[in-house]
């Protein structure tokens, strides 16, 4: 009887302590000196507080639901030999660390933070420097990556992974991160119902943001600057691209935005400034391009003949070398109510809309499309004459690629 009572008390007390999440503190030269040790001691649901210092523990494996908080950015250094943190549990939070020097490998994808089947993962306020992949998440839902800074250091030519890499995830939120020097800044493959908001992705080798087979996602309020190319959205449907800046993506065949085989999407309120090509589109259908500003691009839009049912309306085209070019004569897209700074028509009835249509494709752009070296003749008198002749009697440029309602004054989008 006595024993049973004791047993019950014990069980109740133990159960009580078990239910209360406890807090473990890791400190160099403290009672718990390594994070690995703290993880081994912790129960699911516990918090591990890491005091300032440098921790060289190789690979840190988190295999239970834990909250890891770094105080004044403790350094986790994998000394180029391991993945720094590996998460293999649900409900894990990693916040406030400086994560450096992951292994570089081409067969596997070592990362600063690698996560597999880690639903509800939160990665917040970390700094990742010199990692191969930055944050690499696969097969996880409801994850959050917020307020992190990622800086890759490229050692040999192009040996770098992606900054934030998601593979087969859903309901992810990627917000307010800074990404520099990776292969792709942010990479989505088979990712659905996710949001990318307020990130700055610049100086990456390939793309600022890259979508592959990822449907029903939004990306808003981001800046993509100085990347190999800005953003590539490929083999995807229903993507909202709103309020982004695509700047200074220069180089042969570089572009602000590449759309390849996508449909039912929105490109609205974006700024395309100083890109070789503002938007390059191929196999794009039923997509709306509205309220965008295209300024100082080589080509504002390269619209391949494989695109149909797209609507271009209420955009500003200013100081582009070429506003639009296409590679065929069939035009199955609608273009109306845009402002074109090259428009030389008149507005007799003063309704703000030009009285004669504007043709954004000029003869010379079509010739350069077919014979790239012809660009040498740009601004020559011969080309000027040809262009004028073409405007009167179109022979090469698509007859029905025109804006019937060109606006006389630019829109004020305040971008």
């Amino acid at each position: 009887m006595k024993y049973t009572l004791l047993h019950i008390t014990l069980i109740v007390t133990l159960g009580w302590t078990y239910a209360q999440p406890s807090r473990l503190t890791v400190q160099p030269n403290g009672k718990i000196a390594t994070i690995t040790q703290a993880i081994a001691l912790a129960d699911a649901g516990d918090t591990i507080l890491v005091k300032p210092g440098t921790y060289r523990e190789g690979n840190i494996l988190i295999n239970k639901s834990l909250v890891l908080i770094g105080e004044s950015k403790p350094v986790l250094d994998a000394e180029f030999r391991h993945e720094v943190i590996t998460v293999k549990a649900r409900h894990v939070t990693i916040s406030g660390f400086k994560i450096i020097n992951s292994r570089v490998a081409s067969m596997h994808d070592p990362a600063g933070i690698g996560a597999v089947e880690a639903d509800f993962l939160v990665v917040r306020n970390n700094e990742l420097v010199g990692t191969y992949f930055g944050i690499h998440v696969s097969n996880s839902n409801h994850i959050k990556v917020v307020d992190n800074a990622l800086r890759a250091i490229v050692r040999s030519d192009h040996e770098t992974g992606n900054g934030i890499h998601l593979w087969q995830c859903s309901n992810a939120v990627i917000k307010n991160n800074f990404i520099h020097g990776h292969r792709d800044g942010i990479y989505f493959e088979f990712v659905t119902n996710s949001v990318i908001d307020g990130n700055v992705s610049e100086g990456n080798l390939r793309y600022g943001l890259h979508f592959m087979f990822s449907n029903d996602d939004d990306y808003t309020n981001n800046t993509f600057k100085d990347n190999g190319a800005g953003v590539a959205v490929m083999y995807t449907k229903n993507v909202k691209m709103v309020n982004n800046r695509f700047e200074k993506n220069w180089g042969t065949s570089a572009y602000g935005l590449l759309l390849k085989d996508i449909r039912d999407s929105f490109v609205e309120n974006n700024l395309f400034d100083q890109n070789t090509i503002g938007i390059y589109m191929e196999g794009t259908s039923r997509t709306s391009f509205k309220n965008n500003v295209f300024s100082k691009n080589g080509w504002a839009i390269k619209l391949q003949a494989s695109c149909d049912d797209n609507v271009f309306s209420e955009n500003n085209f200013q100081s582009n070398t070429f506003d639009m070019v296409t590679n065929g004569t069939m035009v199955l897209n609608t273009i109306s109510h845009n402002y074109w700074d090259k428009y030389q028509g008149y507005d007799l009835n003063r309704d703000g809309i030009g009285d004669v249509p504007f043709r954004p494709v000029n003869l010379y752009a079509m010739i350069v499309e077919r014979i790239p070296t012809a660009v040498l003749l740009w601004r020559s008198f011969l080309v000027f004459l040809l262009d004028r002749a073409e405007r009167i009697m179109p022979a090469v440029t698509p007859e029905n690629l025109k804006d019937d309602f060109p606006r006389m004054k630019p829109y004020d989008f305040n971008l």
Binding site: L205, R206, M212
Partner: protein
């Protein structure tokens, strides 16, 4: 003097033929990773374990980042079969090395993450194919079988 002139003409002719010969060569050229773009999907080719190349009988070169891009291009009818001189793929076990595609050994497995999600790696030898496939446990395909996968 006359002899020298003859010699000069001969040398000139020889040089011309060499120049022409070089211009018309139907040789594959290496893929420049990080710089070349895939002809089909327009992506910059980055992953040295994957890539493909088509060389026409006239010496025109088309590069691809993944084998399915090359197959889709070949299936598109843009080139006639008789105009294709070389079809090449990268050997997974020897990054950047182009090998003859119809003679290569292919493995398809969801474990293989390729730039355009073909899930296919190619190998020059049967041994290296078997070695890598111990870990992937994918299916083995020949070139003929592979081309039917992406129709």
């Amino acid at each position: 003097m006359e002899k020298l002139k003859d010699n000069l003409i001969q040398i000139f002719l020889l040089l011309t033929f060499i120049a022409l010969g070089a211009a018309c060569s139907v040789k594959p050229e290496p893929i420049v990773y990080g710089k070349d773009n895939c002809h089909l999907c327009k992506m910059t080719i980055m992953d040295k374990h994957f890539g493909a190349e088509v060389v026409t009988t006239k010496g025109k070169i088309y590069k691809f980042d993944d084998v399915n891009c090359m197959i889709n291009f070949l299936n598109s009818g843009y080139l006639e079969e008789r105009d294709v001189a070389h079809k090449l793929v990268i050997d997974f076990s020897q990054p950047e090395k182009l090998i003859d595609a119809p003679l290569a050994f292919f493995i398809r497995s969801p474990e293989i993450r390729t730039p355009m999600a073909s899930q296919v790696a190619s190998f020059e030898t049967n041994e290296s194919k078997n070695e890598y496939n111990q870990q992937w446990k994918g299916i083995y395909l020949t070139w003929g079988e592979l081309t039917t996968q992406f129709k």
